[in-house]
Structures are given as structure tokens and as C-alpha cells.
């Protein structure tokens, strides 16, 4: 194999290290999966890490935020964790370490490494969709993905209990990992998916979750990253939502010094409903970026987004949301809202809600507000005897609760609310 | 005055490929108030929209003539200029366009189409103030966006105000009583009655007889399944009020 000249975009120490990871990948399988991974590596080689002048990364300059690339987590370092009750998958150091001991009929769990061992086989096209494919960090995950989990729900199967995918690391030296997971929901199936992130070491995690919803499938996804969050985390969600399907995703973000959560959701069938919501609780020097691209490719889709940021310390938040309505995607109904509370003098927020519309018979709108607590409300509560701090706490909690209420699963909703309360307590 | 003013001949019309009117024949003379009554889904609103020329209402057979001239090939505004007025069941809201501006624009558009001189602002104000006073429409309502934030009663009164100002040859009232309390109904009916002349015809479309206590019709026609199934005098309305539409629905089926 000849060594190609280093492309101009690979400049920094981190980029050089990442290019090294790509070059040192074990011989890629032939077949469609290998092909897709080679293509993704090409995207990264061409673009490098995104920076300020890349519009979608304007507020999160990864090239300067990611000074170095920590070594890839060694596959052998994966620890075995005891299997727990319930449908829980554990991804440790990027390796699928635990699968549920038994699974209900119609639900199938496969470690991604096993699924890919045969060249990706039937999964390849779904594992590497052409959604968000020119985003270089997402491409990096695609190129370096070696393990994760594939979850298949057969048509018509309704999973009662939530399925959890828990990502963590073993203790030890700093490392980086690129897990990738795939969920395939058959026609008319329904499931609740909980995605939780933690780590026991300094980690750069670049994770991806790909969801395919066939006609009429209903999926609720709850993403939670909290106290022991990865230090640097890029979490990509790719979704393809079929006709009449419903996809609801909620994210509770608290913790980690750098988080970029990006969702690329494509509505590929008519009358699909997409709901993306979240609460970001930021303090200290945290930087959290939520970026959404909702692609209404066909008519009669509905999308709703609601994101709340509460920012204190010298933390900074970013919300970018693009609603794209393609030509002929008539009767699209889109509504996006971003609301931010800034609680300290050094807190910062950047909002970029975007509409890109090529069909005339649509109703789309967005709203964004940035501000402080309502002084009238605060006053009212205080006249009723609440101390200022408590009154503030109450109002902040109510502000965030409005989004949390959208979590459909009761247990997950309660655990999000509890995490909010815990976070608020740390402020006092 | 035996010539018919509005003549509907064997009208077949469909919406979205589904036939709603199935051979409707009806004739209204100048000076006559004809009531069309019918149960839900009989085609009442379709009839008003077809006469006014709303897009998507396809006439597959038959004709509609005003003063002996077919209107089917005309655009809605051309029909309006010929003197056809439809009081909508659900008047539209148009934000940012004041009622005042809308009325003047519409009056002048029609005058222009008929080759008449446009009204000066002063003349327009005079006419409008007089007419709105009669209907109890407050001045500040005219300065607001057209129908924006108006109550059901206010919207209907405004429809009648428009009719008074535009002085149509023929007025169609589509379920004008829906959503009105008894006081609002009386005001609206008085407004309509004031416009009754020997030269002007009306088609009053309604589900209930109560409107016809206030606007007493010369003839009553029962619409069922897209056709006129019975015609008679005003006593027919009372009969319907007593017995309901049951007999006619059965007949049609």
C-alpha cells in the first residue's frame, strides 16, 4: 500500500493522531460495511476536525478544543460486568461487554463486532446511512467503529420494559472510543430506549446511535449524561423515520467538560411525527452544544423541538436547530423552541434556530429566548413567604420541568426530574 | 318579473373526485328569497361554493346562470362583479389588512370592473359609517385586522355589512345563523331584510328553521344527497322543524 500525501486538512496534533488511528485500523472487511468505513475515513481525511469556519461547528471549535487525541481504548481492556436484571446492554471501553441474558420474543440483541464479522451483511446499509454523512466527527465514528450493539424489534412487537444501553469505561489512563449502535424497529413495533453515559477514566467518547423506524413504529429515546460523564463527548444520533412512525427523543445533559450532541433526523415516510426535546444543565467551565438537523423529505411530517438551557458559572451553551423542508414536502408542520436561563455573569449562550424551506404549503416556526428569571414571579413567590433562593430554585425547576414532562415513560421521567433536583442542589 | 334570476340546471359537482351535488335544479326570481334546507352532508356548503366559484369544486354537468348568463367559466371576482355575493359560514381572518382597507379595496375593485368611478375616501367613509352604524359595528372594529379576533357574531355582522356596501344583485347566505345567539341573529336578519328589494334575489342556506322566523322566505327547498327533493312555501320549513329530515334522507337513499 502506498502512503498518500497527507491532505491539507490534517494539521493539528490531534488530527495527526486521528489520521494515525485510521491508518492503523485492522484490515477492513470487504463487503458493504468495509466500503462504508473506507468512505467515512475519506471524509475525515478531507475535512479534518471542524473549526469556527465550518458553519455547523461555528460555536464549538473542535479543532482548538480537542488539543490531542487520546489513545484508542484497547479492546482487551474491556472488563466483564455482572449481568443485571432488565434489558441492559453495557458498552465498556467501546466494547459490547454485556448483553441481556435473555430477551423477550421478537427482540434480538447482537454485538456489533459479530454483526460486522461477516462484512456487515444485511446491516451495512442501515448501520452506515447517508444521513449526516459529511459531518467529519460523525464520519470519524463510522470509520473507527468496531463494536456496539444491534437491537432488532420485530414488526408488531411491543416492548414493555425500557431497553437500556449504558456506556462506561474501566478505570485507568485517558483513552478514546468510538462505539456505534443500531436500532431497527419493525413496522408497528414500539419500544423505549434509554441511553446513559458515564466513565471511570478520562475519556474522549465519540458515540453514534442509528435508529430506523419502519412504518408506524413508535420509539421513545431518552439520553442521559450526568455526574460521571465523559470528559469530551460527541454523541451523534441518526434517525430515519418511516411513514406514520413516531420518534420522540429527550436528552438530559449535566456533566462533562465538552459535549456536542448532534441529531440528524430524516423523515422518510408521510405523516411521521418527530419530537426532540432536552434540558442542558451547565456550570463551571462546561461547554455543551446541541445541534439538530430535521430533514422533512416527504409531505405531511410533523416535528416539535423544545430545548431548555440553564447556565451558570462560566459555562457556555449552544443550540442550533435546522428545519429543512424539501421541495414537495407539502403540509409540513414544524415548530421549534429554545429557551435559556442565564444565571451568572460569565454564562454564555448562542442560539441558531434555522429554517430552510422549499415548499409553500407549510407551517413552520421557531422561537428563541434568552433571559433571567421573571422578577414578577419571583416577587410573588417571596410575598408568599419563600426565601429568594428557594423561590429561584422553584422557578428554575419549573422552567426545566416543562420539557421533562414530555418524557413518556414514567420511570425515566422521574429519574430525569431527580437528576434535575440533584443538580439544583449542587448550586447552593 | 317571472324570469328567473339565479338558475341552477341539473348541477353535478364533485370535490376531490367525490360527487356531492347530483343533479340539483333550482330557480330563484328577482325579489324572491329562497331557502335551501338540508341535513348535514347534504351538499349545502358545496352548493354555495360552487355558485361562488371556489377552486377544487368541480362541476361535471349542468349549469349555473345569473340573469341568463352562465357563470361557471368566470373567476370568483368576475362573478362578484356580476353581482353575486356569498356570506361565508366561516369568514376568513386576514391579519394586517384592516377591515376598513379591505372594504374600500373590494368596493373599488367591483366598481372598476363595472366601469364605474372609484369612490373617494370621503365618500367611502360616509357610506361605510352609515352602514356600520346600522349594524352596530364599532369604528374600532373596522380598524382591526379583517375578522382577526372577532367573535362569531361580529364576523357575521361584518359579512352583512359587506353585503350592504357591495349592493349585490344576488346574495347567498351560507349558514349565517351558525354560532349566533338570538340577539346577534336578530341584528343580522334585520340587516338582510333591509336589503330585500324587488330587484334582488337571495338564497338562504340553513340547517335550522329558526333563521327563517327572522328572514321569512318566499320558497323553501329541501336538499338531500345532492338534490332538491321537495319544494314548497314557508310552511315547509315548519314541517321540517317538527318532523326533521328523516323522511327526506330515507327518500334519497
Amino acid at each position: 500500500m502506498t502512503v498518500a500525501a497527507r491532505p491539507a486538512q490534517i494539521r493539528t496534533e490531534a488530527e495527526t493522531a486521528l489520521a494515525g488511528f485510521l491508518a492503523a485500523r485492522p484490515e477492513v472487511q470487504n463487503g458493504p460495511a468495509g466500503e462504508a468505513q473506507r468512505k467515512a475515513a475519506g471524509v475525515f481525511a478531507l475535512k479534518g476536525l471542524p473549526h469556527r469556519r465550518v458553519e455547523a461547528w461555528h460555536y464549538t471549535d473542535l479543532r482548538s478544543l480537542m488539543r490531542e487525541a487520546w489513545p484508542l481504548a484497547a479492546a482487551s481492556a474491556s472488563a466483564k460486568a455482572p449481568a443485571r436484571e432488565g434489558l441492559r446492554v453495557m458498552i465498556i471501553d467501546g466494547v459490547c461487554a454485556v448483553l441481556p441474558a435473555s430477551s423477550p420474543p421478537g427482540i434480538k440483541f447482537t454485538a456489533l463486532r459479530d454483526a460486522m464479522a461477516s462484512g456487515g451483511g444485511t446491516f451495512a446499509a442501515q448501520l452506515f446511512p447517508d444521513i449526516g454523512a459529511d459531518d467529519s466527527p460523525a464520519a470519524l465514528n463510522a470509520a473507527l467503529a468496531r463494536d456496539g450493539v444491534v437491537i432488532e424489534i420485530a414488526a408488531g412487537v411491543k416492548a414493555d420494559a425500557p431497553i437500556e444501553i449504558h456506556f462506561t469505561t474501566s478505570a485507568g489512563a485517558p483513552r478514546s472510543e468510538y462505539p456505534r449502535c443500531l436500532v431497527i424497529a419493525g413496522a408497528g413495533s414500539s419500544l423505549t430506549l434509554s441511553e446513559t453515559h458515564a466513565s471511570a477514566a478520562r475519556v474522549q467518547r465519540n458515540s453514534a446511535l442509528v435508529c430506523w423506524l419502519s412504518e408506524g413504529a413508535q420509539v421513545e429515546h431518552v439520553f442521559h449524561t450526568g455526574d460521571a460523564a465523559p470528559e469530551q463527548h460527541i454523541a451523534t444520533l441518526l434517525g430515519d423515520i418511516g411513514a406514520g412512525a413516531g420518534f420522540q427523543s429527550f436528552a438530559l445533559v449535566a456533566g462533562g467538560s465538552l459535549l456536542r450532541r448532534q441529531c440528524f433526523i430524516r423523515q422518510s415516510g408521510e405523516r411521521a411525527k418527530i419530537g426532540l426535546r432536552g434540558v442542558s444543565l451547565l456550570k463551571g467551565k462546561q461547554h455543551a452544544d446541541t445541534t439538530l438537523v430535521i430533514d422533512h423529505a416527504v409531505p405531511r411530517g410533523e416535528s416539535r423541538e423544545l430545548f431548555k438551557h440553564i447556565i451558570t458559572g462560566s459555562a457556555s451553551g449552544v443550540f442550533q436547530g435546522k428545519v429543512l423542508v424539501r421541495p414537495h414536502a407539502q403540509k409540513t408542520d414544524g415548530g421549534m423552541k429554545s429557551q435559556t436561563l442565564l444565571l451568572s455573569g460569565e454564562a454564555a449562550m448562542s442560539n441558531k434556530p434555522e429554517l430552510e424551506i422549499f415548499a409553500d404549503d407549510v407551517v413552520c416556526g421557531h422561537g428563541a429566548t434568552v433571559g433571567q428569571l421573571d422578577t414578577d414571579q419571583l416577587f410573588y413567590l417571596m410575598t408568599r413567604g419563600l426565601p429568594k433562593a428557594q423561590a429561584e430554585g422553584l422557578l428554575i425547576e419549573a422552567f426545566a420541568r416543562e420539557a421533562i414532562e414530555f418524557v413518556g415513560n414514567g420511570d425515566l421521567r422521574e429519574s430525569c426530574a431527580a437528576a434535575l433536583t440533584r443538580w439544583l442542589e449542587t448550586l447552593n | 318579473m317571472n324570469k328567473s334570476m339565479l338558475e341552477i340546471r341539473n348541477l353535478h359537482a364533485s370535490v376531490g373526485g367525490k360527487e356531492i351535488l347530483k343533479g340539483l335544479t333550482l330557480s330563484v326570481k328577482a325579489g324572491e328569497v329562497a331557502a335551501v334546507m338540508g341535513p348535514n352532508g347534504s351538499g349545502k356548503s358545496t352548493l354555495s361554493y360552487v355558485i361562488a366559484g371556489r377552486a377544487g369544486y368541480e362541476v361535471t354537468q349542468g349549469d349555473v346562470l345569473l340573469d341568463g348568463e352562465s357563470v361557471l367559466a368566470m373567476a370568483p371576482n368576475e362573478r362578484a362583479a356580476k353581482g353575486l355575493f356569498l356570506a361565508f359560514q366561516y369568514p376568513l381572518e386576514i391579519p394586517g389588512v384592516t377591515t376598513h382597507t379591505f372594504l374600500r379595496t373590494a368596493m373599488n375593485a367591483q366598481r372598476r370592473a363595472r366601469g364605474e368611478a372609484e369612490l373617494t375616501t370621503a365618500d367611502f367613509m360616509k357610506v361605510m359609517n352609515a352602514a356600520s352604524g346600522k349594524l352596530g359595528i364599532a369604528r374600532d372594529m373596522l380598524r382591526r385586522g379583517l375578522n382577526v379576533g372577532f367573535s362569531g357574531g361580529e364576523k357575521k355582522r361584518l359579512e352583512v355589512l359587506q353585503m350592504a356596501l357591495l349592493e349585490p344583485r344576488f346574495g347567498i347566505l351560507d349558514e349565517t345563523d351558525s354560532g349566533l345567539d338570538i340577539d346577534a341573529l336578530r341584528i343580522v336578519a334585520e340587516g338582510v331584510n333591509a336589503l330585500r328589494t324587488k330587484e334582488r334575489g337571495f338564497l338562504v342556506i340553513t340547517h335550522y328553521q329558526r333563521l327563517l322566523d327572522h328572514i321569512v322566505p318566499d320558497s323553501v327547498h329541501v336538499l338531500s344527497a345532492g338534490r332538491i327533493v321537495k319544494s314548497g312555501g314557508k310552511e315547509l320549513a315548519h314541517e321540517l322543524e317538527k318532523n326533521g329530515y328523516r323522511d327526506y334522507v330515507a327518500d334519497a337513499a
Binding site: P353, F358, A359, C364, G367 | N77, A80, F88, I94
Partner: protein
């Protein structure tokens, strides 16, 4: 303005193809050689008999321009411009410097008459007596200002209103102090190009405490073929003063594209207020996108003083490509910026326009109302930035941008950047995209309006908030212009 009446009366049944101001006037002109180099810059400077400092200022700008790249982030597409294939200076031959209107080429006066802009004060007085207002006009033809009216009367109240080429000589201290202080020479590619080759434009200075006794107006006309227009406007409102300024633009119909890269700088000192209104009606090209003006303009206001206020109102119906973001730097405490915009695109037009409100001082406020209307095969983008600096405590912004689509072959886009670096800010942004409903159209048509009249009426309702910001004379003209530019957009 007499232009109003003419627009009203004569513009009937025109579509994008039948642009009203598309006539070409045959006037002998004095041109710089084609192309751009040091000598072109010196030629322009010499033509204006400029002082050395300005020649050097221009040459410095040119040198920097050579190192810059044409911006490509806007949602507009056009073939690469060959900057060596343009004329950078063109002046009607009988000028420069007519001492009075009697010396102005009569052919030129007729051009402005045809455009509805009378330049003889006597005629202006006759023409607008009924309206009860007077407007002082600076007429810029290709590269030079050909006439400025009411100068004497304005001078009585201390107002300076003259071509900038004249101000360089008569008020060098003001020009030197303020030119380039709002839009730095290297601000962006087109502003830097303008700094090197700007030809003429208006200069306004309102002394402290003076309320300018009449509306000031500049009327821009591009006539020559292959000629770029690079005017530069500088308006200074000293403490406690007020001025309302109007700008109108037209150009002939030509098959090739013409470049317009202007720079407008506004400075408002303590308690001063500047109201700047534009009705931009450059030739938009024909319905297939052939010809038309490339309108790459840098407009920025600096609310330098406490409690100062700058308000931009624009009605954009022309140009093949519009790239402009009239902005406010809210530097003075309690200063206020406003941006009201109607941007209409039809045919193959591309509009990428919006504003920047940069909150730097304390308790500053801003308001942005943008109404974009896309028809035909056009693309219409609102791009706006609201920024509050860490020290901008109490900053307030309200933004509303609505888009309306007419037909399914056009695009409407909203790209706001909302950046808060201070916790006591209150930023509110809302945006909607919708269409004119069939039901609304039918309702209006049932009352006798034609499809186009109904569309125009509904659109006028849609843009009403912005129209109300325009001075009366302009509002009427703008309303008619909206109807005209949407003709042919309804099936």
C-alpha cells in the same frame, strides 16, 4: 415625491420582464480605462482632485483588497466576477462641478424627470405643494453626483448636504475623522473594494441640537454599461440632532450583470437620531435570470453616543442578487437600533439580507422586524445576528422574521445567530413561514378582487408593520412596488 405618482400611474401590467426604469440614456461619458490597478485608483483620485491623504487611503485599501477573498457564505450563487472587465469610473461629460442647475446637461435633467425626480427646486416646490413636504435630493449618476437641491436652505440651519467628493474639500476634518470609522477599510471584500475606488455619494452633517428641516434623499442611477457603482455615504448626526434620509435606486435593463458595491456609514452621537430608509429597485434581471444588478452593500450605523438611535427601514424588490445587512453597533449606553425590512424576490432573484445588532453598551435595545416574500424561482434568506457583549447588561432585543412563499418553486430561509454573553439580557426571537392560503384568496376574490389584487392585498397586510415605518411618500411608492414586483407570481 413625484416618483410616487409616476409609479402609480404608469406602471401597469408589468412583470419581472417589464422593468419600468429599464431605459438607457445616451449621455457622453468620461470613463477610466477598463480594469483595476494602482493607476485606476490614482485616476479616480486625480479626477476628484483629492488631497494626498485620501489617495493614499485608497491605495492602501486597494493593496489590502488584493489579499482578500470574495465571501462565499451567503446563500447566493453567481458566476465569478471578472474585476478586470469592469469600468470603475464613469461620469457624464459636462460635469464635474456644474455651478448651478443651468449648467447641468439638459439630457441629464430629463433622465431624472423621467425617473420622477425633479431636480429644479422650483419644480419640486410645484410638484409637491399638495403633499406639504419637501425633499432635498442628491442625484448620483453612475460615478458622480450631478445635482444637490435645497443646499442653500439647508445651510441656513447649519446642515451640510453635499456630494462626498465636495465634502472632502469643504469639510476635510469631518470626512477624515469619520470616514472608515464605522466600516473599517478592511471590513469585508466589497467594502475594501469600495474604499479603493468609491466614486461619489452623499455627505450629511447635522449640527448639535438641529432637527433637519426636511427629508434628505439620494437617488442613485447606474447608466453606463459594464460599470460598477461604488458610492459612499457618510451621515453624521451630532449631539441631540435628528435626520431622516431616503435612498432610491434604479438602473437600465442590460443583459449583463452590473456590480453595485456601496458603503454607508452612519454615526449618531449623544441623543441623536438617524432614520435611514431605502426603496431599492435596481433592475432584477429578466425572468430567466439574465442580467440584473449584483447588490453587495455594506451599511452600518454606529450609535456612538448615549441614548442615540439608528433606524434602518428597507424595501428590497430589485437586484438579481442582494447581499446586505444594515447593522447597528450599540456602543452608547441606552442606545437603540431598529431594522425593518421587506424583501421581495421573484423570477430568479436571490436575496440574502438581514441585520446585525451588536449590543456593547448598557441598557441598549434593538428591534428587528423582517418580512421576506419569495415567489417565482427565487431564494429569499434572512440572516441576522443579535449579540450581547459581556458588559452589555440590560440589553434587550426583539426579533420577528416572517416568510411568505408564493408557489412551490421558491425557497425561504431564516438563519438567525443569537449570542448572549451577559446574564441580564432579554432576547426574544420568533420566526414563521407560511403561505397565502387558498381560502384567503378565494374570500377576497368572492368580494371582487382579482387573484393578483388579492395577493397584493394580503401581502400588504403581511408587511404592514414595516410599511408603517416608512415616511409617507415612500410608503405609498413601496406599496405599489410590492404589487408590481409580485405580478406574474399568481397562477
Amino acid at each position: 415625491m413625484a416618483a410616487v405618482q409616476e409609479t402609480v400611474d404608469r406602471v401597469k401590467s408589468v412583470d419581472v420582464d417589464a422593468y419600468k426604469y429599464g431605459f438607457v440614456t445616451d449621455i457622453a461619458s468620461d470613463k477610466a480605462p477598463k480594469g483595476l490597478n494602482d493607476d485606476t485608483v490614482r485616476f479616480i483620485s486625480a479626477k476628484k482632485n483629492e488631497p494626498l491623504w485620501l489617495t493614499e487611503w485608497r491605495l492602501d485599501a486597494y493593496k489590502r483588497w488584493l489579499t482578500m477573498r470574495e465571501p462565499d457564505w451567503a446563500k447566493v450563487h453567481y458566476p465569478k466576477i471578472d474585476y478586470q472587465d469592469l469600468y470603475y469610473y464613469s461620469a457624464p461629460k459636462s460635469t464635474p462641478g456644474p455651478k448651478s442647475l443651468d449648467e447641468v446637461d439638459p439630457e441629464l435633467l430629463r433622465v431624472y424627470e423621467k425617473l420622477g425626480i425633479p431636480l429644479r427646486e422650483r419644480e419640486i416646490l410645484l410638484g409637491v405643494e399638495g403633499a406639504g413636504t419637501r425633499v432635498a435630493v442628491d442625484a448620483v449618476f453612475d460615478s458622480v453626483s450631478v445635482a444637490t437641491t435645497f443646499k442653500a436652505e439647508l445651510a441656513k440651519s447649519g446642515v451640510i448636504f453635499c456630494p462626498i467628493s465636495e465634502a472632502v474639500h469643504s469639510h476635510p476634518e469631518l470626512v477624515k475623522k469619520y470616514m472608515g470609522s464605522v466600516v473599517p477599510v478592511t471590513d469585508n471584500y466589497f467594502a475594501t473594494l469600495n474604499s479603493a475606488v468609491f466614486s461619489d455619494g452623499s455627505f450629511v452633517y447635522i449640527p448639535p441640537g438641529v432637527r433637519c428641516p426636511m427629508e434628505l434623499s439620494t437617488y442613485f442611477r447606474i447608466n453606463e454599461q459594464n460599470t460598477g457603482q461604488f458610492e459612499r455615504t457618510l451621515i453624521i448626526a451630532d449631539k441631540g440632532s435628528y435626520v431622516s434620509y431616503l435612498e432610491g435606486c434604479t438602473a437600465p435593463k442590460r443583459d449583463e450583470n452590473q456590480l453595485h458595491a456601496a458603503v454607508v456609514e452612519l454615526i449618531a452621537l449623544d441623543d441623536a437620531e438617524i432614520k435611514y430608509s431605502t426603496v431599492q429597485n435596481w433592475y432584477p434581471g429578466d425572468k430567466d435570470g439574465k442580467g440584473g444588478i449584483y447588490n453587495f452593500v455594506t451599511k452600518r450605523g454606529d450609535c456612538r453616543g448615549a441614548r442615540s438611535k439608528i433606524s434602518w427601514t428597507q424595501v428590497e424588490t430589485g437586484s438579481a442578487i442582494t447581499w446586505k445587512y444594515p447593522s447597528c453597533i450599540l456602543r452608547g449606553d441606552s442606545s437603540r437600533g431598529e431594522f425593518y425590512s421587506i424583501a421581495i424576490s421573484n423570477g430568479r432573484q436571490q436575496v440574502d439580507s438581514g441585520t446585525k445588532m451588536l449590543h456593547l453598551g448598557k441598557n441598549t435595545s434593538s428591534r428587528v422586524i423582517s418580512k421576506g416574500i419569495a415567489a417565482g424561482r427565487s431564494d429569499n434568506t434572512y440572516r441576522g445576528q443579535i449579540f450581547a457583549h459581556r458588559k452589555a447588561s440590560g440589553a434587550r432585543n426583539f426579533t420577528n422574521c416572517d416568510s411568505l412563499l408564493i408557489g412551490d418553486t421558491c425557497g425561504a430561509h431564516t438563519v438567525p445567530y443569537i449570542e448572549a454573553r451577559n446574564p441580564s439580557v432579554m432576547f426574544e426571537h420568533e420566526a414563521t413561514t407560511s403561505k397565502i392560503s387558498e381560502d384567503q384568496l378565494f374570500y377576497c376574490m368572492q368580494r371582487g378582487l382579482s387573484g393578483e389584487e388579492a395577493t397584493a392585498l394580503i401581502v400588504n397586510g403581511f408587511v404592514r408593520d414595516v410599511l408603517q415605518q416608512l415616511p409617507m411618500e415612500f410608503a405609498v411608492e413601496a406599496q405599489k412596488l410590492i404589487a408590481v414586483s409580485l405580478e406574474g407570481s399568481v397562477g
